[in-house]
């Protein structure tokens, strides 16, 4: 079935089709229409799940953890301040090995208030032990939401589906809605195996672990995050096999023969496709690399895609004060493993902060600035700032 829907509706459809059993949620702009859509779905019998209308995002995540410990598939959605409030419980969900799925609509952090797109909220949850999957369009949002459950449950690690505020959350696109039975085939009912509060087989979970067992348990999270790279690849393939749409953790577009690559995530990647095509029409050897997963970080694929290029322009709609763009930092840390001959120069641009547009024009400007510059230090990395 094809339907025109917003990114937020696509998230709700994804969760519903995935057969979520417990939803716990709290409203926050621009996420709210996800949980409103789910409320309608439940009321109209389209989705059969329990819906806990909690009193905060902290409680939303806590209730999801409780439900997941009860052995059922759980979902919540939030953004910006809500994700920050959840932070404690994001760590808890990963530590407790509860495969909760969360949709985060990227929203800029306050103060001052800003409800528009900015990835700083999700990227600053880097160390929480969550798988993070970024989306470029609404079809990808729906598909990723379904896949996120499968990935999370295989690994017993929570997963975050990330989409840009307004550019996706409130923008409508025609998308293909998978058949519910086919989704069930792809994603059978959740089996918590031995990690749940089974009254017939009582166990204590989360008790104090002394230093040595604690370190073992933390290592297991790292081990499974490493394993996640192959699990995500397998789930992408399974999904493609079932539904005919293939996703990649790292995807090149006109990248093979490119001299200068633009690296983008989220909706900026979508705009960059158009920009790169325009640059090609102008005779430039421009290319795009889109990164979908932030955690686990797909270092090898990124190395493979960027190796041997002269220059790479990373566009970050986020930044870490005192250290600049977060994707650029991660990419630099991966590329340092390449030899000097193979390693491209990384230009880290900050653009689109607080919902500023990253237009085709801006991406082309970034490309030409990178092409003409000798060294990254020479140029201004903040795109569009007037320094008033």
């Amino acid at each position: 079935m094809r339907k025109v829907m917003t990114g937020n509706q696509a998230v709700a459809y994804g969760a519903m089709l995935a057969g979520v059993e417990v939803v716990a949620a709290y409203p926050i702009t621009p996420q709210t229409t996800i949980i409103e859509t789910l409320a309608d779905m439940q009321a109209e019998g389209l989705g059969n799940f329990d819906y806990i209308r909690v009193e905060s995002e902290h409680s939303a995540m806590a209730a999801c953890i409780g439900a997941s410990m009860g052995g059922v598939r759980t979902f919540t959605a939030t953004c910006g301040q809500g994700l920050f409030l959840m932070h404690e419980m994001l760590h808890y969900a990963a530590g407790a090995r509860t495969p909760v799925v969360l949709a985060n609509v990227n929203r800029a952090p306050a103060a001052p208030w800003n409800i528009w797109s900015d990835q700083t909220d999700s990227l600053s949850q880097r160390e929480t032990g969550w798988i993070q999957l970024y989306c470029e369009g609404n079809q990808e949002v729906l598909d990723t939401t379904i896949m996120a459950f499968k990935i999370a449950e295989k690994l017993k690690l929570p997963a975050m589906v990330v989409l840009d505020a307004f550019f996706l959350s409130h923008t409508s696109e025609p998308i293909e809605i998978p058949d519910k039975e086919a989704v069930k085939d792809f994603l059978p009912t959740y089996d918590p195996k031995d990690i749940w509060l089974d009254p017939d087989n009582p166990h204590t979970f989360g008790a104090i672990a002394m230093s040595e067992p604690y370190m073992e348990l933390r290592w297991q999270i790292q081990r499974d995050m490493e394993r996640a790279k192959s699990v995500i690849a397998e789930v992408h393939e399974d999904f493609a096999h079932q539904f005919g749409r293939m996703y990649h953790q790292v995807e090149g577009y006109l990248a093979e023969d490119a001299e200068v690559l633009v690296v983008c995530t989220g909706t900026a990647a979508s705009t960059a496709r158009v920009a790169v095509e325009a640059l090609r029409a102008e005779g430039e050897r421009a290319g795009l690399v889109k990164i979908k997963t932030f955690r686990p970080f797909p270092g090898e694929e990124i190395m493979g895609a960027l190796k041997g290029k002269k220059k790479v322009a990373v566009i970050d709609r986020n930044f870490s004060p005192g250290a600049q763009g977060i994707w650029a930092q991660e990419i630099r840390s991966v590329l340092c493993e390449l030899s000097d001959r193979e390693r491209p120069m990384v230009y880290g641009y900050i653009a689109g902060i607080g919902g500023c547009d990253i237009s085709v024009k801006i991406i082309k400007e970034i490309y030409y600035k990178t092409l003409e510059s000798h060294r990254p230090d020479d140029i201004d990395m903040w795109v569009g700032v007037k320094y008033v």
């Binding site: 409680s59 410990m69 067992p213």
Partner: protein
């Protein structure tokens, strides 16, 4: 000494144990005894959710546990939310009969956990929430909480500046949520405590049980006096034992024949050692006033 204002369906304390020996509570701990008795009243199937508090430690360190019911340790402020989610999951699995119990200290109830608890109460979640109240942050070394009584020493309200505010009236806050059942209990009256847990288990919706729980190191009391001190709290109306249904029907379940002056209770504990006679008079007035207000509601129902 006192009379029991209720009939117990079984005066025998059940012999079933859901807690094994070998837990790590302090000698004379009111919290460990309260849990033991509460589980006797609840029986199986029951699942426990416990935030940061002494009870996070009492079952023992991983991989050992003294618990024979499923037990989930959660973050400090989340008990009300986690039990809501867990109950929903059991409902989804067709395991409606599992009694989901949140078990939090006074810090996790009066202070950091009040929001999640209030949310769960407002939604009338089908769970039991227990506050075992030892009147300070005992697990971190006796710091003041909203449940600490007036005049008490704690490590953050030293003798030269003891707590200048009264104990927060958490029971009234919960009554204002109009929940199906609320009760106070203490291990000094085990039949009363067990009967209340049995009754709570037989009901639906949010049930809140407030247990006064002596802490010998925190209250500075001898370990062998725990039961007597908790009994004195009841007999002096500092901690009246009662139950409330739907915020309407109030019943005192243990009625002292003769009310003891608060002096005996306060003088039994090192944490109140610095109080002057004048301080004790102030304390007495506060206890009497609070009880009178409660008594009006007991009487209204009796009449």
């Amino acid at each position: 000494m006192y009379s029991l204002n209720q009939r117990f369906d079984n005066m025998e304390i059940p012999e079933d144990e859901y807690m094994t020996a070998g837990h790590v509570a302090c000698a004379g701990c009111g919290a460990s005894l309260s849990m033991r008795l509460a589980l006797k009243g609840l029986g199986k199937p029951t699942a426990l959710v416990v935030p940061a508090c002494c009870w996070g430690i009492i079952p023992g360190a991983w991989p050992q546990t003294a618990m024979e019911v499923p037990f989930f340790n959660t973050a400090f402020m989340t008990t009300g939310a986690v039990i809501s989610g867990l109950k929903a999951a059991y409902r989804r699995r067709g395991m409606e009969d599992v009694c989901v119990v949140g078990w939090a200290g006074d810090g996790g109830t009066y202070d950091i956990g009040i929001q999640a608890l209030s949310g769960a109460a407002e939604r009338n979640e089908d769970v039991i929430y227990v506050c075992y109240d030892n009147e300070a942050y005992m697990n971190t070394g006796v710091q003041r909480s909203g449940g600490t009584p007036l005049g008490a020493w704690t490590s953050t309200t030293p003798v030269k500046a003891p707590k200048s505010e009264s104990k927060k009236d958490m029971d009234e806050i919960m009554i204002a949520h109009r929940i199906p059942y609320l009760a106070t209990a203490t291990a000094a009256y085990p039949h009363d405590l067990i009967a209340k847990f049995k009754k709570a288990r037989s009901m639906k919706g949010m049930r809140y049980i407030h247990i006064l729980s002596v802490c010998p190191p925190g209250w500075k009391t001898p370990e062998n006096m725990s039961i007597e001190i908790m009994r004195l709290a009841v007999l002096s109306n500092i901690f009246p034992l009662y139950e409330v249904e739907n915020s309407e029907i109030f019943r005192q379940t243990v009625i002292p024949d003769e009310v003891e002056p608060v002096n005996n209770y306060l003088r039994s504990q090192g944490r109140f050692k610095h109080l002057t006679q004048e301080d004790i008079q102030v304390y007495q007035r506060e206890v009497t006033t609070r009880f009178e207000r409660l008594k009006e509601r007991f009487d209204r129902i009796a009449a």
